[in-house]
């Protein structure tokens, strides 16, 4: 039996979490705190973390596992934490991809290290484990999702302001300010009702709108791909920073979309394979609630057309249908081509598909569908970029530079024809 997370541990233990989504994790921390759990988001980076991951995990396991589990194992080894006072946490979807095994890999690594007394908390769609001291209540889950929506909004606004700001650093500062402010609100159990969310989101958009900006003609890049390497700067060798240095504005679709995708799959499973009606209904309810949050976000953005708002999820579904069957539900599944199509239609025609080297679902939904996407969008400039412990950054950046060279040419042609 895996080590339990006991009631006492709630008081004594710090839960260590890898930084999967940079901004979002900070907000989730606030939610955990609100429920009385101390959560530390780990920011270890660099070769020693990768090496730790490679040492305790199978060499051929996915890069996201090596990075994120590597961070957790490293945290236990580097001496920053008392191993008797920490627990680890892992978020999983429980789908047919090998990522569902992360929790098991982590436990095995701990066992090999003689640290199997460290509790590992699994948060998964595929059935929850029971812990005497950790209860993921539906309410806490909902609060968590709301925090993610805040994260999505901050990310969206930051990405659209930063490249254009007159004084650099303002957008980032605003993000920090909001993380602090929201965490404070959560502490007082505020900021999570429908009304207060609406208010917060509106204010957020307004403040970002007020950042003085100049107009620049930048290359617009959309980032899609495997969920970890897409978001995590550790996983993607600081992709965002590199793009910014090359004069790009980039857009990364939000985390809420991924959740909606997971919920929507329950309905598709029922349609294709029959089975439990209750699960389908559960999926419908979850989709409905997520749609409410999505609407709040879109409503807040509506008065400011300068910000490109994400497409409603229902539209994403329709776009995905044109490229792939929505039965593909492992990994990022049909969401990835859907998001790609949406970004292209929105004008982010240069697409980086960030994927771990040898990622199985990405053979299908990444490289596998690029041809279909190109046929549909001949002007799309799609580049899959592989990430791996051995892949050199020079190679990755060189490929991205190629994409950008073509993008610039395309942009110049475009401007010429317009003139």
């Amino acid at each position: 039996m895996p080590q339990d997370f006991t009631k006492e541990m709630k008081k004594t233990h710090t839960i260590l979490c890898p930084d999967i989504f940079p901004t979002h994790m900070e907000l989730l921390r606030g939610i955990f705190l609100m429920y009385g759990y101390r959560l530390d988001v780990l920011h270890y980076e660099g070769k020693q973390v990768i090496d730790t991951g490679l040492k305790y995990l199978h060499n051929d396991i996915c890069y996201p596992a090596i990075c994120s589990l590597g961070q957790q194992i490293y945290a236990l080894q580097c001496g920053d934490y008392d191993v008797h006072k920490v627990a680890l946490i892992m978020f999983q979807t429980g789908g047919g991809c090998r990522a569902s095994n992360y929790i098991w890999l982590l436990r095995r690594a701990l066992k090999n290290m003689g640290l199997d007394f460290v509790p590992v908390i699994s948060i998964s769609f595929s059935g929850l484990e029971h812990y005497s001291g950790f209860h993921l209540t539906p309410m806490m889950l909902l609060m968590g999702i709301r925090a993610l929506v805040y994260g999505d909004m901050l990310l969206l606004l930051k990405n659209q302001c930063m490249p254009y700001e007159k004084t650099s650093g303002q957008a980032q500062a605003l993000v920090q300010k909001w993380i602090q402010r929201l965490t404070d609100q959560f502490q007082h159990r505020r900021g999570l009702t429908n009304a207060s969310m609406r208010k917060n989101l509106q204010e957020m958009v307004k403040e970002f709108h007020q950042i003085p900006k100049c107009s620049r003609s930048l290359i617009k890049v959309g980032i899609v791909g495997e969920i970890y390497v897409k978001y995590s700067s550790f996983g993607n060798n600081n992709l965002e920073k590199f793009l910014a240095s090359q004069g790009c504005e980039y857009m990364i679709p939000g985390v809420l979309g991924f959740l909606q995708y997971c919920f929507a799959n329950m309905d598709i499973d029922y349609r294709y394979y029959g089975g439990n009606r209750l699960i389908r209904t559960g999926g419908h309810i979850a989709e409905f609630m997520a749609r409410k949050l999505e609407q709040a976000m879109l409503a807040a953005l509506k008065p400011y057309p300068e910000f490109a708002a994400p497409a409603p999820f229902e539209k994403l579904k329709k776009l995905a249908d044109t490229v792939i069957d929505r039965g593909v539900k492992m990994g990022e599944g049909w969401l990835l081509p859907g998001e790609t199509a949406e970004l292209i239609e929105k004008g982010y025609t240069n697409i980086i598909c960030a994927q771990p080297f040898g990622c199985l679902p990405n053979h299908i939904v990444g490289k596998g569908v690029i041809r279909s996407l190109r046929l549909r969008y001949p002007h799309a400039n799609i580049f899959p970029i592989d990430y791996d412990p051995g892949a050199s950054r020079v190679n990755q950046e060189n490929r991205i530079k190629l994409m950008l060279a073509i993008a610039r040419e395309e942009q110049a042609n475009h401007e010429k024809t317009r003139a």
Binding site: K47, I50, D51, L54, H58, N59, D60, I61, G95, G96, C97, R98, S100, N101, I103, W104, L105, R108, D269, Y272, Y273, G274, G275, D325, G327, K329, M330, G331, F357, G358, C359, L360, P361, H363, I364, V365, G366, K367, G368, V369, I370, R371, S372, R374, P378, D386, D388, P389, G390, A391, S392, R393, V394, N395, N398, K401, L402, L404, A405, I406
Partner: protein
């Protein structure tokens, strides 16, 4: 103002100067041997001298140019983009550009939608690869071209990665294939790599332009491209300089004074620090002490100057080297010899023997033994007494130096071998399979690339202050890591030390996969030529934190072990070995002839070696057929049986008036063929099943594969669909299946993502599907009641509507056929098992996925096992004998649940029943399953054997591995027999095996 374009590639430096009218004034091309900055500075000075007092606008391109451009604020232009600019200027009518460079390969599609492809993390099929292969064959790339022009036939060489290709070529060389044919095969491998890796489903046609070094210098490579693509490509003037030209065209900066720029470059000290690891030796004194302590290890064994009494000869024909020595009855060593095998070991052995007989005409050789890759050919050529498995040879030798040795690590030219020893028997074996990263030949190639010989190169690393931390990864990746480190200012010494350390890390963490180096063993013997390198030895000791034993003869331990084995197994020391004597050696002749076997559908490419017109040795065979053995033994091979069961569903009847539906015979159809065949047959369709997989079938679909890192079984699917299209079937049925049958062995019953969704990839990437109806809807068989309803939905959307009842009836028949098939497999499996017990035959459960019974995928490993005397079962024939049990992973894939169950079944059986897991290269799930399967088996004291399979068909390494497994099993059987006192009168397993190995003679 004049314009200067600089192309800093991975291996070469190219430069072009243009005048204001874009006329080319000056070009230069040189290998930079990784001394990029000084070479560039020198080049700039040359140009400055040629155009004195002129400032030029400058632009830099090339994979290694990015760092330089950043450091000196020069404009950078991406190299593929530069090529495009140059092509637009010089050859505007071009449709497709194929450009191969030192480490990169690119295809540019210029018409009908511009698309640019470049190789990602894999450097297979590039100039570096050709260089590597040329050095493997001991010729220059230009010679390779000359050789290729005289080829007669083409061998299949895995084209994905240089490392794999190497393991294909090596056995060919060892088996005596013609060098001309191998050279040509290498070029075809490059072509295939370029097409499968870069075309990604887009057709290469129209006006083709060939650019870059390899395509410029190697006309045979160009004609190979022409041949495969059915085009007439064109290699223009300045084909080496297109990138540099593009950069020059794009240069529009203010003028640079080249002399000043050159000085800046020379004065530059890189800012970024590279990651380093602990140094090997801090001073000479430490090194001296280290040397002294290791010299102690070999005392007691002397090297003698002349033969004394009966002598024993040991020969080790490794992948890249030949080792020979003799020893006397005390084990003292005489005439140790070590040489690169120059792609043909036969003349080397011959020369050694000739010299020996010449110097010591009276020598008495009592017995001799040969081991290694070339065992069979040498045994046949020179009439050697014994042929033994490498593992046994090495253990025999290591015991001599340390009787209580419990761990042996041997790093040779291309292999890493590790053996764990328990109770005097080899308990566990690790071999590097498809990957040779971090082996000796890698160090050698690297040294050569940097312009050093290996001895000098490794010495440079001994006292390096900050060795580069290169981690433990693939050779190809290591190349780019080294480049990055160089960019960050690492000197040759630090790189040399870093490479030595990475060799060790690879062996420990990639091959042995040990979590904690301290648990390896207490008495470790290291050997193999690579360990004569003090830097590697030191790195190993540092990494595991303890001292080890390195015999002075580390490089020839295989041969030494063979000699000792010959001594131990020689019945009478007075007798004379059957080895060719001086007289016979004088008349020795060796001829080779290549031909294709027509014994069965495999059409193996065989090489016939004839020695002195009498002895013949055939290599390249998968089965015994071409050997024309007097009588074929009865074999019990469930894999073959499954194939024969499935053949019944491949009649492809054509009843007029019925629509024909095509089923691709790949991936999960290997399991579900009985189901779908019966289903559609009952519904009134003609069922056309695609033909058995073959290399040819694969190549037919190769150009539509979008992801070159997906597993080979999935890639084959493109060929199967193409075959069905060629048959003009009315519809092709290839459904997506997220879920598999639920056999209640796990928590879930998914298919792996590739099996589940590959139809989507086919749909998106095979344009020709438009000519037919492609049915790739989602369906699952696990929900038996829902299945007909869903099927009706699907079929009604493609064909005239039919009543649900009809479909329900077909479904019932289909489920019955599926159940009957599986029951038959299991029944027959049980029978084989009984026979094995009765006849005391070893049993191997060959565990993989259902589609691993495809002979194109498993390369006939099942037949090999039968040849070795084993009864072969499949995983699904035993998985039902185990009920669900807890595993330490998420048990969520049906095929993999069977695997765990099969492992559990084997774990509960006696020592004669073992499991071999087949793993397709690129299978991500097996990163999880292999560890779990191993732990289930090892918990029960069983040996875990994994065989990685890909396009490659290197049976040599696989054979060694399986023979080693049998010899370990033998030891264990003996041990348990001596405890229980059973199996009296049975021939020993090893004897049974050696008796069953084709004598390799006709």
């Amino acid at each position: 103002m004049k314009k200067l374009g600089l192309d800093v590639g991975s291996t070469t430096l190219k430069c072009v100067v243009l005048d204001e009218n874009n006329t080319i004034l000056f070009t230069t091309y040189a290998r930079h041997l990784s001394k990029i900055l000084p070479q560039t500075a020198q080049l700039l000075r040359e140009i400055a001298a040629k155009f004195p007092g002129e400032t030029m606008s400058v632009s830099v391109a090339g994979s290694a140019g990015m760092g330089m451009a950043n450091a000196f604020s020069l404009p950078f232009i991406q190299e593929v983009y530069a090529t495009r600019l140059a092509v637009a200027q010089l050859a505007p009518q071009t449709d497709v550009v194929i450009e191969l460079g030192g480490e990169d390969a690119k295809i540019l599609f210029l018409t009908n939608g511009v698309e640019v492809r470049m190789n990602g993390t894999c450097a297979g099929g590039t100039g570096a690869f050709i260089d590597q292969m040329a050095s493997l064959m001991d010729v220059t790339p230009e010679d390779l071209n000359t050789l290729a022009s005289q080829h007669e036939k083409i061998y299949t060489i895995a084209s994905r990665c240089g490392v794999f290709a190497k393991s294909d070529i090596q056995p060919l060389l060892n088996q005596g294939a013609r060098r001309e044919d191998i050279a040509a095969s290498i070029f075809y491998a490059v072509v295939n790599q370029t097409i499968s890796g870069l075309a990604q489903g887009r057709e290469i046609a129209g006006n083709i332009l060939y650019l870059g070094g390899p395509l410029t210098f190697l006309p045979q490579l160009r004609s190979s491209f022409d041949d495969v693509l059915h085009v007439h490509g064109y290699c223009p003037e300045y084909s080496l300089y297109y990138v540099a030209l593009g950069a020059a065209y794009a240069a529009d900066t203010q003028g640079f004074d080249l002399e000043t720029l050159a000085s800046q470059i020379l004065d530059y000290t890189p800012k970024d620090a590279y990651a380093g690891c602990a140094r090997l030796f801090s001073n000479e004194k430490e090194y001296a002490a280290f040397r002294k302590s290791h010299d102690q290890a070999s005392k007691g064994i002397r090297e003698i100057d002349a033969p004394e009494g009966s002598m024993f000869l040991g020969i080790d024909v490794g992948s890249t080297t030949v080792k020979l020595l003799l020893c006397d009855h005390e084990g003292n060593i005489f005439r140790p010899f070590y040489s690169s095998n120059h792609a043909n070991p036969v003349p080397i052995v011959r020369k050694y023997l000739e010299k020996l007989y010449q110097d010591f005409p009276d020598i008495h050789i009592a017995a001799c033994a040969v081991t290694g890759y070339g065992e069979e050919i040498i045994r046949c050529a020179f009439h050697v007494d014994f042929g033994i498995v490498e593992t046994i040879a090495h253990y025999t030798a290591a015991k001599k130096f340390r009787p209580d040795v419990d761990f042996i690590l041997d790093i040779g030219g291309q292999d890493i071998k590790c053996f764990q020893i328990k109770n005097g028997a080899i308990d566990n074996i690790f071999l590097n399979e498809a990957c040779s990263s971090g082996c000796g030949s890698f160090l050698q190639t690297f040294a050569a690339a940097l312009g050093y010989d290996i001895e000098t190169f490794s010495k440079l690393g001994l006292f390096a202050e900050k060795p580069v931390d290169l981690g433990s990864r693939c050779t190809v990746f290591m190349n780019s890591s080294v480049k990055q480190a160089q960019k960050d200012g690492a000197d040759v010494g630090s790189i040399s030390a870093g490479l030595s350390i990475s060799v060790v890390k690879n062996a420990l963490y990639k091959v042995i996969r040990c979590g904690d180096a301290a648990t390896l063993g207490k008495h470790i013997v290291v050997q193999g030529g690579t360990f004569l390198n003090d830097a590697v030895l030191r790195a190993f000791e540092q990494e595991i934190g303890r001292e080890v034993i390195r015999p002075r003869y580390a490089a020839v331990m295989g041969a030494y072990g063979a000699a000792l084995y010959a001594m131990e197994h020689c019945a009478n020391q007075e007798q004379r070995s059957s080895l060719l004597d001086a007289q016979a050696l004088r008349n020795f002749r060796h001829e080779t002839h290549a031909f294709t076997c027509s014994g069965c559908n495999n059409h193996c490419r065989l090489t016939l070696n004839t020695f002195g017109g009498k002895d013949r040795y055939i290599a390249g065979n998968r089965c015994d057929k071409p050997l024309k053995l007097p009588q074929a033994r009865e074999t019990f091979n469930l894999v073959a049986y499954k194939n024969s069961l499935l053949a019944k569903f491949k009649e492809n009847k054509k009843i007029p008036g019925r629509p024909t539906i095509g089923l691709p015979m790949g991936l999960n159809f290997y399991e579900l063929l009985p189901f779908w065949y019966t289903f559609f047959d009952t519904l009134g369709f003609n069922v056309a099943v695609s033909p058995t997989s073959s290399r040819k079938l694969y190549l037919a679909g190769q150009s539509t594969i979008p992801s070159d890192t997906v597993c080979y079984p999935a890639k084959l699917m493109h060929g199967h669909i193409q075959a069905l299209l060629d048959e003009n079937v009315d519809a092709i049925f290839y459904p997506d299946m997220s879920y598999n049958i639920d056999e209640h062995l796990g928590d879930q019953h998914f298919n792996c993502p590739v099996v589940a969704y590959y139809p989507q990839v086919i749909r998106a990437n095979m344009r020709a599907l438009k000519q037919t109806v492609f049915i790739c809807d989602f369906i699952s068989l696990h929900a038996r009641r829902h299945f007909p309803i869903r099927c009706k939905q699907i079929l009604d959307s493609y064909f005239p509507k039919r009543p649900l009842k009809e479909i329900q009836k077909a479904a019932r028949a289909a489920y019955a056929a599926y159940d009957a098939y599986l029951a038959d497999v299991r029944r027959t499996g049980a029978q084989y098992l009984t026979i094995a017990t009765q006849k005391h035959l070893p049993v191997i459960v060959l565990a993989g996925r259902p589609y691993h019974i495809d002979p194109e995928i498993n390369h006939g490993i099942d037949e090999l096992l039968c040849q070795l005397g084993a009864v072969v079962l499949s995983e699904d024939s035993v998985s039902n004998q185990v009920s669900r049990f807890p595993v330490s992973v998420r048990n969520q894939w049906t095929y993999h649940s069977r695997l765990y169950a099969a492992a559990k079944f084997v774990a509960e059986q006696g020592p004669d029943i073992n499991l071999v897991q087949l793993v397709s290269f690129g299978c991500g799930l097996d990163a999880i399953t292999s560890d779990e399967t191993r732990s289930i088996l090892e918990k029960a004291g069983k040996i875990y054997t994994q065989i990685k399979i890909d396009e490659i068909s290197n049976m040599g390494a696989i054979k060694i591995r399986l023979r080693s497994l049998f010899s370990v099993v033998e030891d264990k059987s003996k041990l348990s027999a001596s405890v229980s006192g059973t199996i009296a009168g049975q021939p020993s397993l090893e004897n049974r095996i050696s008796a069953s190995i084709p004598a390799a003679m006709l």
